[in-house]
């Protein structure tokens, strides 16, 4: 197993930044070399997190795939209003191109998944839908589907997590959010209208998670739109116990 910490200049962010990659490429285990380019999982951290703060070390060996871990600050993996706040572009374009070119990772959606937890669950669904020809499979755990709350916010308002300016910076003008491409539901509708293939989706949330109703709402939306998807609830709260269990299930579903 090789673990890479990478510093580079990001065009999307207009500054030097870093990300991390894990590849089962070293000779430790005497694994047979994989046939063809290696499959890739983009793994997205939650609010307050960064690359590498949860790494399922055992899985890449088991299923023979690479993990790419961006650091996306508290951006919700969206292109914010400010120059250099382009985290959707960072993950969905720049890093995809970087790791495919630099590490020769698989270049087709069948072998490219994206998953995350909490804010990263939102990011996985949104980024996957924004680039359906890049990501074939989406795993969204305990996802912070907060876009409808944000859409209701008025200037000067906010909540206990962050102020109005933060939400506006990340999601764009709240009043425009429902119809905006930052709303994953808008992306679903557009993909359907365009006849585009929608990536396969696996959602999971703990029944005691404070975000459970947001996840149920997204599940109902997908059902109403006729979008096939796996939806799972299980005992659990918004913590690593749940994510440790479900990242295993998601990876098996993606690459098993």
């Amino acid at each position: 197993m090789a673990y890479f910490r990478i510093e580079y200049y990001s065009k999307a962010l207009r500054r030097e930044t870093s990300f991390e990659v894990m590849i089962p490429c070293d000779p430790r285990e005497g694994m047979p070399a994989p046939e063809g380019p290696m499959r890739t999982l983009f793994l997205l951290h939650g609010y307050t997190g960064k690359a590498g703060n949860y790494v399922p070390f055992d899985l890449p060996y088991k299923y023979n795939f690479a993990i790419v871990m961006p650091s996306a600050e508290n951006s919700f993996y969206l292109n914010g209003l400010s120059t250099g706040h382009a985290f959707q572009t960072l993950v969905g374009e720049e890093l995809v191109e970087f790791v495919r070119k630099t590490f020769g990772l698989a270049g087709d959606p069948t072998n490219t998944g994206i998953a995350g937890l909490s804010m990263g669950g939102f990011g996985a669904l949104h980024t996957g839908l924004a680039y359906p020809r890049t990501f074939g499979k989406i795993g969204a755990m305990s996802s912070a589907f907060i876009h409808h709350e944000v859409a209701q916010m008025k200037p000067g308002q906010g909540n206990e997590v962050a102020n109005y300016d933060y939400y506006r910076e990340c999601f764009g003008e709240p009043a425009l959010l429902e119809e905006s491409d930052n709303n994953p539901e808008t992306l679903i509708r557009k993909l359907k209208a365009a006849g585009e293939k929608i990536p396969e989706i696996y959602m999971a949330c703990g029944t005691e998670d404070f975000l459970i109703e947001n996840n149920r709402a997204m599940h109902r939306f997908l059902e109403a739109e006729g979008v096939p998807h796996e939806y799972h609830e299980g005992p659990g709260i918004h913590d690593m116990v749940f994510w440790t269990e479900y990242i295993q299930k998601i990876v098996r579903w993606m690459f098993g």
Copy 2:
């Protein structure tokens, strides 16, 4: 010489972040242990940069001080509008407290300097003036004193570097900037009015630097306000050749 890469949860940024520190604390050189706590230089990178992208490795041994290198993204070292965009607090309070407590570095302004280049030159002057009881000496190289330009910006405008939203996020409402504490000149006026001690200041800029007029304007302002300061121009542009020369001069002035 010991070099530290540090990851921690920042209250100011509301997320995990990192910074770097260099301390001449190892036994390589057979240096005598310094008397008392070690002097500290906070060294600020420019726009597009990050911690560690210019490190004057020879100086800490020569003058026996530690270097603390924050990563402040493209924030201009200001507290922006959004929650978690508190880079002034990060550098001027949180990191100061962190390194003093964790590394036992000197706790008085006489032994605490702040310096930077370009955006980091703005940051050094602004942060130093915002915390005059923390930083006794300020070194500002090729500083991006762009606050008067920003104050003129109207919604929808921006420039070739960044858009209006970026400047508004960093500096606050442009229309309010002249009087705001994000304008270092405002801080000077307030410190004078309050009878507070203003940190010692060393400014330098290359005569061919595109920011030379901004630096001359700040120099004239300080003269007009009767604020003692060193001001130096020399041949040079906005590049590492100039900064490599002047960081030596600034450190000698600070700690020599």
Copy 3:
């Protein structure tokens, strides 16, 4: 929680090297500042490992102590024959001095423990006994107490793990090992003869571990010598499941 990756020049190794430190020193949890200097656990990796390859992230917050993680290659934490192969000195002197001076960690044996697994279990016991005034408590898990096997080796021999030259380099001349200070039993006898206080000892090994008999032999030796110690066997093999369970028990015993 702050995590430090540190590069420095090691006098003991005569070259630049690195180690890692975890300190519960950031403001995330709103913990009360500890009274006095922070307690410290030196945590030693096993054969094939390095600093940071097993980190009990939850424990420092729970019991308020720092973890220092050396990288000691495959040295058995001994001073080998070659210049620069001084890993006992690295851990027991150089790093102790470094972290106490640089991070202000506790300077007394009551608040300084050393623990490890496999080769690191050997290292914890040996280093603790070599510096009984530095380390007050020793935790040795699944320890590679292989010194009696090594003492039997003849030139040209070795085993499936490594060749004779490797063992000779690490342990010194095998023929002299039984009486040498690289044998932890020799250290016990010398400490007793000198009337020195022996650190408190906690040993644990899985009943299905291939090293169980080596651990039982050390347990019998300590009993025969009248050295008080905790000795625990439990279900388990030579793996992270066992160590994850017992590092919790050892830290509670040390600092609980």
Copy 4:
């Protein structure tokens, strides 16, 4: 420019280790994508050093090549006597295979160079000659060609740098060294006898360097053997001033 810090399990060393890589692969400069796989320079540090302690940051952009920086401790880049002390194999086989497979770097000797300073100059020449089908070009600066001194050492002897056990561990039995493959001159003779192509060689040493006579002796040996090579002396001692000048010349000679 992207900078990679890589941790992995090394079969050659039988333990986890790290190395560093710099690739001009990011979109900062708007460089045209290179045609075909990227050229590679293996850059070897000196005694007391490690990966990354001297990095010619400007050169990869200028000539479009990757730099691979091993950490080889104080090994002289040789396969020592002990299991796991296989630094020749690490650099000349394991890392070559790793970076070619993982980063898709150039796989032919024409596009693969090896260079180093001091101990790394010895390593560059020796490793290049040990793998002449891998490395097409060798750059050796201020090289520690000390093999004739080592060959004279008797048990118990050593010098001010290290003891006899250290030299024996690195170079093998001194009494056998002259004829051994650890002597680069032996490799030259064998390559000639086998009719193998000898890599192109560029040697440089400062006239005031304490190793100047060792470098002149190697130069005379190559002349006597009729091995074409560039040999340069210039004003300078054993320091970064000389190496900063000559790494530029060597890279231009290799890839210009």
